[in-house]
């Protein structure tokens, strides 16, 4: 493999990992508060379609990004109402959100399939992008990639260095004790769910406005689900989310590697790679029951009633 190919593969890895980072960071914050939202795929799809339509109709890509985040947020409010207010089973509600989001996005976007759009252009950071090797891989991307770097730092600091992050984690560990110390458990969980929704919407916008600027039904192709596995892989730690997302990004672009090495493999077989990798990773990480127990938020997925 030559130098250019390696650089291009790493460049593509960062691009492919970006939507996974966004949605997985959101889901991780949500899970840290004790809420399991399996609706990531549905929220991402809604973000992708609404972002695309808004950008196309207004001619403003950033308005599209804003609308996409709002769409993800609205979807998460739907989840919040049913799973938190009405304390329905979180697994079922999350599934419902994905099924609903898949249907609604296909419905809303049916007139926009195949419409071309000039997406968000790369933004070469002066000086930094001129550094050999690293400059191309890290600093010649579109702005949403840089935003993902910033959001990663933000979530990391929030969870590990801030008071609010501590409160969030307390709620996820033991809502009863959190409530006893005067923390607004319900409000914190709602905010965490909403953050997860906005991030999923943003991840969707990345796909439909930057990664491949178009709308196609089910274009997220299971990334929302892979992100859920990523959170387990990351043991609910932000830095490992970043690592995991790029690892999965690399698995998703195996076709580039294969072409570079002169193999011709069926694209359908290569498409299996990220899903297969997800299963392998889950097996490796979950088989140690004690480890998962150690890191997972204790009250994850359990409804909580302040008055019960």
């Amino acid at each position: 493999m030559d130098y250019d190919l390696i650089v291009n593969i790493l460049y593509a890895t960062v691009r492919t990992g970006t939507p996974l980072i966004l949605v997985a960071l959101g889901e991780m914050v949500c899970e840290k508060s004790g809420v399991l939202n399996l609706g990531q795929e549905g929220m991402m799809l809604m973000g992708a379609v609404i972002g695309f339509i808004a950008a196309l109709e207004t001619g403003n890509l950033w308005l599209g990004v804003t609308f996409a985040m709002a769409a993800g947020l609205m979807m998460s409010l739907l989840f919040g109402f049913i799973a938190l207010n009405l304390s329905a089973n979180q697994v079922a509600t999350g599934l419902a959100l994905t099924i609903f989001g898949t249907g609604l996005s296909a419905f809303v976007g049916s007139d926009y399939v195949g419409t071309p759009l000039v997406g968000i252009e790369p933004w070469h950071i002066p000086l930094l992008s001129d550094i050999p090797f690293v400059g191309r891989i890290l600093f010649s991307h579109d702005p949403l990639v840089y935003l993902s770097f910033g959001l990663f730092v933000g979530v990391y600091l929030f969870l590990n260095r801030s008071h609010a992050g501590l409160a969030l984690k307390a709620v996820g560990e033991s809502p009863q004790s959190a409530k006893a110390t005067g923390l607004p458990v319900f409000k914190i969980r709602y905010l965490a769910v909403m953050f997860g929704g906005a991030m999923a919407g943003l991840a969707g916008a990345y796909l439909s406005l930057a990664y491949t600027p178009l709308w196609a039904e089910n274009m997220t192709a299971g990334r929302g689900w892979i992100a859920l596995a990523l959170v387990v892989f990351a043991s609910w730690k932000a830095e490992r989310v970043l690592l995991g997302a790029y690892l999965f990004g690399a698995f998703s672009i195996m076709h580039l590697v294969a072409q570079g090495l002169g193999f011709s493999v069926s694209p359908n077989l290569l498409a299996i790679m990220p899903y297969l990798a997800t299963i392998v990773v889950l097996v490796l990480l979950s088989s140690d029951k004690a480890r998962v127990k150690l890191y997972a938020p204790v009250s994850l997925g359990k409804p909580f009633h302040p008055a019960d």
Binding site: L38, G42, L78, F81, I82, L84, N85, L86, S87, A88, N89, V91, A92, T93, L95, A96, L97, I99, F100, G101, T102, G103, L104, A106, F107, S110, D111, P184, F186, K187, E217, A221, G222, W225, I226, L228, A229, V232, S266, N268, L269, A271, I272, Y275, L276, T278, I279, L282, V283, S286, S287, D288, K289, V292, H305, P306, A307, D308
Partner: protein, 378 residues
């Protein structure tokens, strides 16, 4: 908040049955508002969606054609969900059943053996079962979350099917279309009714319905699965072999979904194509919940879901509305169901505090304000 939720002493049996009906009604109301917003006559659209498809005998046979695979998948899922085994993989198990059964069917292009069809059907069911065995093994031996593994296996199964119809199983005389050769009569399901597409797959579904009903309500294994789902620790103390139950639920579910898949390709489709399933495996999740994880409920819910599929096609053809309405209606139905299910454990009361604001005399009601919607935030 004007209303508040008050926990019932016991779960309401009535509401458990009423909730799906309520959810269906709310979906219809929301649907008509949607049609109205789209500039269509709501009544005419609802008629085209839900009544016109079953206004003649052919419509009813088509309902059977679509309900059979959904019912087969949903029955298996109900067994899983009763034991809190979250199998989301009926779609993948169905696709693999179709793929394996279809691949075998292609070996019988020159044969008229009476054994061919049964062999193909068994192969399909076994393939679905094998596909479900993967998450079963991973869950019981590696503690892996079955929601995620079954979802991933759905995507893998779909890509295996795509690979096969684009590659090894592609019809050499098929002008390069991604589809297999047409199956011969020896490996095609017999029709139940002439001039229709209704094949004997519906009989398999009805047989499975009775079998699952017997399993769940008349056998000790069914009882064990139920206990496992209600209280894992109680199941442990009672000495139930949890692993064996997980395996049983997943294998049964996989076999039924695989059978559904092979019946689709040997029945109405007649060859392997990329679009074997319009999401039957996912629709079956909704059907399992809507049918209250009970075989009779699932029979009714499968028919409703089949109607949503056919109705969605009809409004696309006749009223030029997007086919995606089908998915939208499915999602809405599940959401409304989950929302209405809150009424099983809670009753809605006018919030006493809201009352108190208007009528100071009723302020005495403010006690035991449990699960109050507005006090959640305190």
């Amino acid at each position: 908040m004007i209303f508040k939720l008050e926990r019932r002493v016991d779960d309401s049996r009535w509401m458990a049955y009423l909730s799906p009906i309520l959810a269906g009604t709310l979906t219809l109301i929301t649907g008509s508002i949607l049609f109205w917003a789209l500039g269509k006559d709501p009544l005419q659209t609802l008629y085209t969606f839900f009544i016109a498809p079953v206004s003649d005998l052919y419509g009813w046979t088509e309902l059977g054609v679509k309900a059979a695979p959904i019912m087969l998948c949903a029955l298996g899922l109900a067994v899983c969900y009763r034991g809190k085994v979250w199998n989301i993989g009926a779609e993948g198990q169905l696709l693999l059943g179709a793929l394996a059964g279809g691949a075998l069917a292609l070996q019988f292009l020159e044969s008229d053996s009476a054994l061919a069809l049964p062999l193909v059907l068994v192969a399909g069911a076994l393939a679905g079962m094998a596909w479900a065995a993967i998450p079963a093994l991973l869950k019981t031996h590696f503690n892996t979350n079955e929601i995620l593994t079954t979802i991933m296996l759905n995507y893998i199964a779909l890509n295996l099917l795509l690979f096969s119809v684009h590659g090894p199983l592609k019809d050499p005389g098929g002008f390069n279309f991604p589809e297999s050769a047409l199956f011969t009569e020896a490996v095609t399901l017999p029709l139940l009714l002439e001039d229709s597409r209704m094949h004997i797959g519906i009989l398999f579904a009805l047989f499975a319905l009775v079998a699952v009903w017997v399993l769940l309500s008349k056998t000790f294994v069914g009882f064990q699965i139920k206990v496992l789902g209600l209280d894992t620790r109680a199941a442990h103390f009672a000495g139930f072999k949890e692993r064996r139950l997980v395996w049983l639920a997943l294998l049964l579910s996989g076999a039924l979904a695989g059978l559904a898949g092979v019946c689709e390709v040997t029945g109405p489709i007649g060859q392997l194509v990329p679009q074997v399933s319009p999401g039957y495996g996912y629709a079956a999740i909704i059907v399992a919940f809507l049918g209250r994880l009970h075989p009779v409920g699932i029979l009714l819910a499968s028919m409703l879901m089949a109607l949503i599929y056919i109705g969605g096609e009809l409004v696309q053809i006749e009223l030029n509305l997007p086919l995606a309405l089908t998915g939208l209606f499915q999602g809405m139905l599940l959401f409304f169901l989950l929302a209405c299910d809150v009424l099983i454990a809670y009753r809605i009361r006018l919030n006493p505090r809201f009352n108190a604001m208007r009528k100071p005399s009723s302020a005495a009601l403010v006690n035991g304000a449990d699960a109050n919607l507005s006090t959640h935030s305190q």
